[in-house]
Symmetry: C2
Subunit: 344 residues, 2 copies
C-alpha cells in the first residue's frame, strides 16, 4: 500500500510512538523558560569531565540517549538503529558518541533540521517493518560551534541583532511500533514531509533565520496542501530554528500567500531562551535547539494533553564557513513531522 | 511483515531495482582500469567551468545525477527523494548540488560509506511504500579533500605508503520499485546490513584502511551470520575503501576467524587506480571512490551477467582533522548491500 500523499508527504500506515525521550543542556539553557522540561543541566561547558568542547558534545549525546533508554526501561540492545547527526565537521559529535554504543549506526546531516530528519526517517524504518525500536539523537555545543563556524570565543566578537545563539544541548527520542506500547500517553508520529533545498540568495551568516524561512514556507505549504490541512488544524506548529526574526519572516511569507500563522505558531529558537537572556540576539539555533525542545517541551506537552495535533518543522542552514568565504549564499531545508497526542 | 533478519540485517520484501546509474570522475581516475565504466571524465580539476574545487564537487554531483536520469529517461520530478552526502565540512558538496534540484532532500553523513548507506536507506524507503523512485548521490574531490583534511596541495607533502588518495568523482544511482521496471537486466538490491561504529584505537590518519578494516569485518560477519551465508556464496565481495593495505588486514581478520576471503574479494580503493599510478600509495578513498566503482563497474558487471550475487560494503572513517588533532582515534563504520543480477 502506498503511503505517499500528494507531492511530498508520507502518511504512515501505522502511527509510530515516542515511548521515551530525554534532553540535556548547558547552564544558559537551564536558566531559560524550558528548564523544567530538561532532564539534566550541566554546570560547566565540559559536562563535568572531558577535555574539549567537542568531547563534551559527544558526552551530551551519550547522556541524552542513556537517559531516554533508562526512562523507558529499554536495554540498549533493543535498539535496531541509532540515527544521529550534528553540526561539527564530519559529524564527530555523533560518531564519537556512537562508538560506545553497540547499535547499527545511520549518520545524518541536516544541520539544525537533523532531529526532524531523524524522526521522519526513523518513523519510516519502523512503519516499513525494518525495525521495531530505534533512537534518534542530535546535539550542538555553543563553544564548539562558535570556534568552528564563527570566531574563537576569546576574541569576544560583537553579535548582530539577527544572530542566533547555538544551543548547548542534546536530545534523544526513542521510536517504536505503536503496537508495542501498551501505554496510551505516548505521542505518535502520523505524517512527515521532507523538504527541498531552497536558496533565496541570503549570504549573511548572522541572519540564518532569513535564509531558512523560505524553506520552512515551502515545506509547511507542501504539508498543508498534501494533507488538506491549514495552520488552524494544529494546536501547535513549531519551527526550529528560525529564531525571532526568522519566525517573523515566515509569518509574513504566509500572510503574503493569504494564510495566517496564528497564536499556535512558535519557534524552538524563540522558545528556548525566552526574552530574559540579553546575549542571545534572535534566539537559539543548532541541532541541539530543536532536539532539546522536541524531546523535552513538546513531548511532555503532548503527554500532558496540552496539545493534540502538532507540526514539528526542523529547519537547517546547509552552508559551511568555507562556502560563506567563497561568497556563496545559504541553501536551507525544512522537514516537517506531525506528532499527535496518544490514543485518547 | 517483519523484514528483519538476525541481529542487523534487512531482507527486503520485494527487491529494489537500480534501473539507471552514472558516474563522473577526474583525469587520474579516467586513466585507471575502470575508465571504460566512467560516463564522463573531466580534463581539469574545476570540471571545466567553476571557480573552486568545492564548487567542482557540487558540479560533479549534478552531472552524475543528470546523466543517471537521462540514461533512464527519467524526469527529475519523478524522484521522490534525493539522498546525498559527501566529505566536505557540513556536506556542502551535496547541499549546493541539491539546491538546483526540485526534489525533497535527505542529507547523509557516512564518510566513504555514504553510497552504501544511501542505497540501504533508499531501498528501505521504496520497499516500505514511501517512494516509487529515488536517487542516491555522493562525491569527493581530491583537491578539496586534501586542503580540508590534510595539507594545502601547494605544500607538496610526502605521502606514506599506507595513505590513500581521495578520488575525484561522483556517482548517482536511481532506485525504484522493481515492479516498475519491465527490464530484466536491472540489478536488484535484496538485503542490507547497517554496521556499528567500531574503533580499535588506530590514530594514524594516513592509515585509514587499518582503522576501517575491523568495521568491515564486523558488518560482513553480521551479514554472513544473519543470512546463513559465507564468502563462497558471493561471486563478488567488494569493500570500499580499505585500499590495498586495509584489504589485506580484512583478509587476515577473517583468516584468524577461520574464514577465507578468496579471489572473489576486492576493494574499490584497490580497483580504481589499479597498479599503474605511482602516487596513490595504498589506493583510492573518499565518498566518490565507492560511488564511482558501484555506479559504473559493479552495476555494469551485474547487467552484463559477469556476476550474479555481490556484496557491496561501504566503509567510512568517521574522524575529522580536529578529532585527530585532539589525539582521538578513528571510529569507523561499514554498511553492506547485497546486489544481485536481474531476473534471469
Amino acid at each position: 500500500m502506498s503511503k505517499q500523499r500528494g507531492k511530498q508527504t508520507v502518511e504512515l500506515a501505522n502511527p509510530v510512538a515516542i515511548p521515551s525521550s530525554a534532553c540535556v543542556a548547558g547552564s544558559r539553557e537551564g536558566r531559560g523558560p524550558l528548564r523544567h522540561t530538561i532532564d539534566s543541566i550541566y554546570e560547566d561547558s565540559l559536562t563535568g569531565g572531558v577535555k574539549s568542547w567537542e568531547q563534551a558534545e559527544s558526552a551530551m549525546q551519550k547522556d541524552a540517549l542513556n537517559l531516554a533508554l533508562s526512562k523507558g526501561n529499554f536495554p540498549e540492545k533493543s535498539l535496531r538503529y541509532l540515527l544521529a547527526g550534528d553540526l561539527l565537521n564530519q559529524c564527530i559529535g555523533s560518531a564519537f558518541s556512537a562508538r560506545t554504543a553497540d547499535i547499527p549506526f545511520i549518520g545524518l546531516y541536516g544541520a539544525c533540521s537533523t532531529m526532524a530528519e531523524g524522526l521522519g526517517l526513523g518513523a519510516m524504518l519502523i512503519d516499513g517493518g525494518f525495525a521495531d525500536r530505534i533512537a534518534v539523537v542530535t546535539s550542538s555545543h555553543y563553544c564548539a560551534s562558535e570556534r568552528q563556524f564563527r570566531l574563537p570565543l576569546e576574541y569576544g566578537g560583537q553579535r548582530t541583532p539577527t544572530a542566533q545563539w547555538t544551543v548547548t544541548g542534546a536530545g534523544a527520542a526513542v521510536l517504536e511500533r505503536a503496537a508495542l506500547s501498551g501505554e496510551p500517553d505516548h505521542p505518535l508520529i502520523t505524517h512527515l514531509t521532507f523538504g527541498k533545498v531552497i536558496d533565496m540568495g541570503i549570504k549573511d551568516v548572522s541572519y540564518m533565520g532569513a535564509a531558512m524561512a523560505p524553506a520552512a514556507f515551502s515545506t509547511l505549504s507542501a504539508h498543508f496542501q498534501d494533507t488538506g490541512t491549514g495552520p488552524e488544524d494544529f494546536d501547535l506548529i513549531v519551527t526550529g530554528d528560525l529564531g525571532v526574526t526568522g519566525s517573523d519572516i515566515l509569518r509574513e511569507l504566509f500572510a503574503n500567500a493569504g494564510v495566517t500563522l496564528g497564536q499556535n505558531y512558535t519557534d524552538c529558537g524563540a522558545l528556548i531562551y525566552g526574552l530574559t537572556e540579553p546575549d542571545v540576539s534572535a534566539g537559539g539555533s543548532g541541532c541541539g535547539c530543536s532536539a532539546v525542545t522536541l524531546c523535552g517541551y513538546i513531548v511532555s506537552g503532548l503527554r500532558a494533553r496540552r496539545w493534540k495535533n502538532t507540526l514539528f518543522c526542523g529547519t537547517g542552514a546547509l552552508f559551511s564557513p568555507l562556502s560563506a568565504q567563497q561568497g556563496e549564499s545559504i541553501p536551507s531545508v525544512c522537514h516537517a513531522v506531525r506528532l499527535v497526542g496518544g490514543k485518547q
